[in-house]
Symmetry: C2
Subunit: 450 residues, 2 copies
C-alpha cells in the first residue's frame, strides 16, 4: 500500500496550492472508486471533505458507498443538500436506501423530498423492509420482459436500461400479473435469433427468494447455486427486485466470522464500535451463566478440602489441569464447529471424526501430561505428584477432545446453533473433570504424596 501513502501525501500537500486542485481532480479521475475511498480514509477530516467535493457526482456516489462508516459520517456532516441529492440519484435503489437510512431523520426526509418522485418512491418502499432481509438488500432496478414478447424486445429494453443501471446479468420474464415465470441471461440474448419468442427460450425453473427471507438464507442460496444475481418476489410471487452477488459477499463473510463471536460468548452481532451499554447487554448474560458454571466447578474443588489442606501446593497445579483440558477442548470444538458450518461434517461421517479427535486428544494428553509430570517432579521433587498430574491431564484431554465433537453434534441434532452453546458445556465439563481427576487421584494417593 505504498502507492496509497504516496498518493495521500501528494494530495495533502497539493490541496492548498494554486493549481493543485486541478491536478488532484485529474489524478483521482483515473482511479477506481474503491482506491479513492482508501485515500480519503487516511486524510484528516477537513481534507476529506475538500477532496470529496472535487469528485464528479458519479464517482462521488461510488466513493461514498466504499468509505468506512467514520469517513462517511464526516463527509456527510455538512454536505450541501443539493449535491447529496445528486449523489443519491446516481445510486442503485438499495444503495440509496442504505445511505438514507443512516442519515439523521430530518436530513433523510429532506433528501427523499428532493429526489425524483420515482426514485423517492422506490427508496421509500425499500426502507420498509428490515435491513437483514432479502427486501432490505435487493435493488428494484432490473430488466423484466413479458413472456409473450420477443427476444428483440428484451434486447431493446436492455440497451435502454443499461444506460442508467449497471450489472444487469439476467432478463427476468414475467406474466401479465407481474409474476416471475422465467429467466434468460443477458449474454444469451446475443446468441438467440431476435425474432424468437421469449417463452420458447426462457429457463422456466427459476430460483427466487421471498422479500421477507433472512439475508443469511439468501447467502446460502447464492453459495449453493453459484449465482451472480437472484430475483426477489413478494408474497404473491410478483417480481419485486434482484440481489447481486456483491451485496451478498459481505453477508457471507460476516456470517462466516459470526461463529467466532458465538464461540467466544457473543451471541448477537456486536460491532467493535458499539457503545459500552450495548456491549454489556450482549456480554453480561453469558458471563453470568459462566459464573454459575464456575461456581459449580468451584464446589467440586470444595469436595477435596481435606486433601488441599493436607497438601496446599495441589492448589497451584489444579488450574493447570482444568485449563489445559479447556484449551484442548476448544481446539476440537473450533474445528468441529467450522466443519459443520462449511458442510464438511454431518451425522454420516461423525463417527470417523470422533475417532480421529479422540485419538488426537489421547496423544496430546500423553505428550503434555508427560511434560507436566517431569516439570512437577523436578520443581517440587515429588515423583508421585508428577504421576498424579500427568494422569489427570491425559484423562482430561481425552474427555475434552471426545466431547469437543459430541457436544456440537448433539446441539446440531437438537437444532441449536453449535457455535453458540458448545463452549459453555465444554468448559464446565473440562473444569469439573480437571478438578475431579487431579484432586481425586491426589486423594487416592495422598499417603504417597505428602
Amino acid at each position: 500500500m505504498d502507492g496509497i501513502n504516496q498518493d495521500v501525501k501528494k494530495i495533502s500537500d497539493l490541496i492548498d496550492e494554486e493549481g493543485g486542485r486541478q491536478y488532484i481532480k485529474k489524478h483521482l479521475s483515473e482511479l477506481h472508486p474503491a482506491d479513492i475511498a482508501d485515500i480519503l480514509e487516511t486524510l484528516d477530516k477537513e481534507k476529506k471533505k475538500e477532496v470529496f467535493n472535487l469528485l464528479q457526482t458519479e464517482t462521488a456516489s461510488n466513493v461514498i458507498l466504499e468509505v468506512d462508516d467514520q469517513s462517511r459520517e464526516q463527509i456527510l456532516e455538512d454536505i450541501n443538500k443539493e449535491r447529496l441529492t445528486d449523489i443519491v440519484e446516481e445510486m442503485a435503489s438499495d444503495e440509496a436506501a442504505d445511505l438514507i437510512a443512516d442519515l439523521p431523520k430530518d436530513d433523510a426526509k429532506d433528501i427523499l423530498e428532493k429526489l425524483h418522485w420515482k426514485d423517492s418512491a422506490e427508496v421509500q418502499k425499500l426502507l420498509k423492509y428490515p435491513e437483514d432481509t432479502a427486501g432490505g438488500i435487493m435493488q428494484t432496478e432490473l430488466l423484466s420482459v413479458r413472456e409473450e414478447m420477443l427476444v428483440e424486445d428484451a434486447i431493446i429494453q436492455y440497451i435502454a436500461l443499461s444506460q442508467e443501471v449497471g450489472n444487469i446479468h439476467n432478463t427476468f420474464i414475467i406474466d401479465k400479473d407481474r409474476k416471475l415465470v422465467g429467466v434468460i441471461p443477458v449474454r444469451r440474448l446475443l446468441v438467440i435469433k431476435p425474432e424468437t419468442a421469449i417463452s420458447k427460450v426462457m429457463e422456466r425453473n427459476v430460483i427466487s427468494v421471498n422479500v421477507h427471507e433472512d439475508q443469511e438464507e439468501v447467502a446460502k442460496i447464492f453459495k449453493k447455486y453459484d449465482f451472480v444475481s437472484l430475483p426477489v418476489v413478494d408474497d404473491n410471487g410478483r417480481l419485486a427486485g434482484r440481489i447481486l452477488i456483491d451485496d451478498i459477499v459481505d453477508v457471507l463473510i460476516e456470517e462466516a466470522s459470526e461463529d467466532m463471536l458465538h464461540m467466544a460468548g457473543i451471541y448477537q452481532d456486536e460491532k467493535i464500535m458499539d457503545p459500552p451499554l450495548r456491549s454489556v447487554r450482549i456480554r453480561l448474560p453469558w458471563l453470568v451463566i459462566n459464573l454459575a458454571t464456575a461456581i459449580l466447578a468451584a464446589s467440586v474443588v470444595g469436595l477435596f478440602q481435606d486433601t488441599l489442606q493436607a497438601m496446599v501446593i495441589l492448589a497451584m497445579f489444579m488450574p493447570i489441569v482444568a485449563g489445559m483440558g479447556g484449551n484442548a477442548g476448544t481446539q476440537a470444538l473450533a474445528v468441529t464447529v467450522r466443519g459443520i458450518a462449511l458442510g464438511e461434517l454431518d451425522f454420516g461421517n461423525a463417527k470417523k471424526a470422533l475417532l480421529n479427535s479422540t485419538i488426537a486428544g489421547l496423544l496430546n494428553g500423553i505428550a503434555t501430561g508427560a511434560i507436566m509430570a517431569l516439570v512437577a517432579y523436578y520443581w517440587k521433587g515429588n515423583y508421585m505428584l508428577g504421576i498424579v498430574i500427568g494422569l489427570a491431564m491425559i484423562i482430561n484431554l481425552f474427555i475434552a477432545n471426545f466431547f469437543g465433537i459430541i457436544i456440537p453434534l448433539v446441539l446440531k441434532w437438537l437444532k441449536i446453533d453449535p457455535a453458540v452453546a458448545s463452549s459453555i458445556f465444554l468448559t464446565t465439563l473440562t473444569d469439573c473433570i480437571g478438578f475431579i481427576s487431579f484432586l481425586g487421584l491426589a486423594t487416592l494417593f495422598i499417603k504417597h504424596l505428602v
Copy 2:
C-alpha cells in the same frame, strides 16, 4: 429440507423397482445439480453410484463438483474410465484440474491421456500452480480479442465460445504479444455499434492479478472492487486465465472462518476429517506453549502458599477469578479480531473502541463481582471473602477488556496476525492478574478473613 428427504426416500424405494430408474432419471433431470448433489449425499454408497450412473454426462459433471468429498470419493471409486473422461471433458479447466489432482496418481495419468490433447494440455498447465494461488483457481477458458479488431469480431467469438463455456462476463483485450491491455463487459457488446474499433471502447484501466498471487489476496481484490470475474496474467503480463466470483466465494468464507480456528489455537487449516497425527502436529505446539504459560500462572499461585495454607477455601475461588477474566477478555478479543478482519477497526478509531471496551469491562466486572461477592458471603458466611473476590473480579475484568483490545492492535501494528497470537497473551495475563489480585488482596486482608 423436507423436500429432499422425500426425494431421497422415493429414490431409494424406486431404484430397485422395474421402471423406477426411468422415473428417477426424469425426476433428476428437472433438478438443479446442487440439489441432486444434496440428494446423493444422503443415499448409501451403492445407491449413490447407481443414481450417479443414471445422470447425463453434463449433469454428472456438475454434480460431481457439488457433492461433498466423501461422496465424491465413493462415486469415483470404481467408475468407468471412459465415462469419467467424458465427465471431465465437460468441466471448465480449473474444475477438471481440481478433480484430477484429487484422483489416485495412476487414475489421474490415465484420464489425462484419454482427454482431448488440448484439454489435457490446459489441465496439465494448471496442475503446475499451487492450489492456493491465482493460477491454481483460474480457468483458461475465456473470451479474448486483439485490440485492433472490431466489436463485431468480439460478438462472433463470444457466440462461438458460449456454446461450450459458461459464465463469460468479460471480453479481455490483448495486444500482439498476448499482453492484457483492456476489457469490455460482454453485455456492453449489445449496446455498441458492431463496426466500432475495440480499442476505442475498451476500458484500459484493467485490474488483474499475477498467476502466483495468493488466493487470499485475490479474494481481497474481489471483495474490494465488487468484481464478478478477474483476469490473471503471467510474469510478462500475458493473459493466462480468469477467476470467477464463485471460485472465490468459498475462499472468502474459509478465510473468514479461519480466524475462529486461530483464536482457538489451531494455526493451520485443519479440517475436521484430518487424520489424528496431523491434528496432533498442528495442535500440540500450541498446547505446549499454553502449558508453559499455565506453569507461569501456577508459579504466581506459589507465591501465596502461606495465605492458602491459612485459608484453604481460597483455592476453591481462585480459578473463578482467573476464569472469568479469561471469558471476558475472550469476548473483547473476538469482537476486536473480527473488527480488524472486517476493516471496521484501525488505528484511527482505536481510542474510542478502547474506551468503550474498558467501560464495558468495568461495568461487567462490577455486575459479576457483586454477584460473586454475595454468593461467597452466603455460601461461606464470610463477608470479607465476598469483598475480596468481588474486588478481584472487577480488577481482572477491567484489565481483560483493556488488553482484549490492546493486544490484537499491537500485534496488528507489529504485522503479526492478531487472531493467531492474541489469546495466548491474553489468557496468560488474565490468569496471572486473576491470581495476583485475588490472592494478593486475600493476603492483605488475611487477618479479617480467617
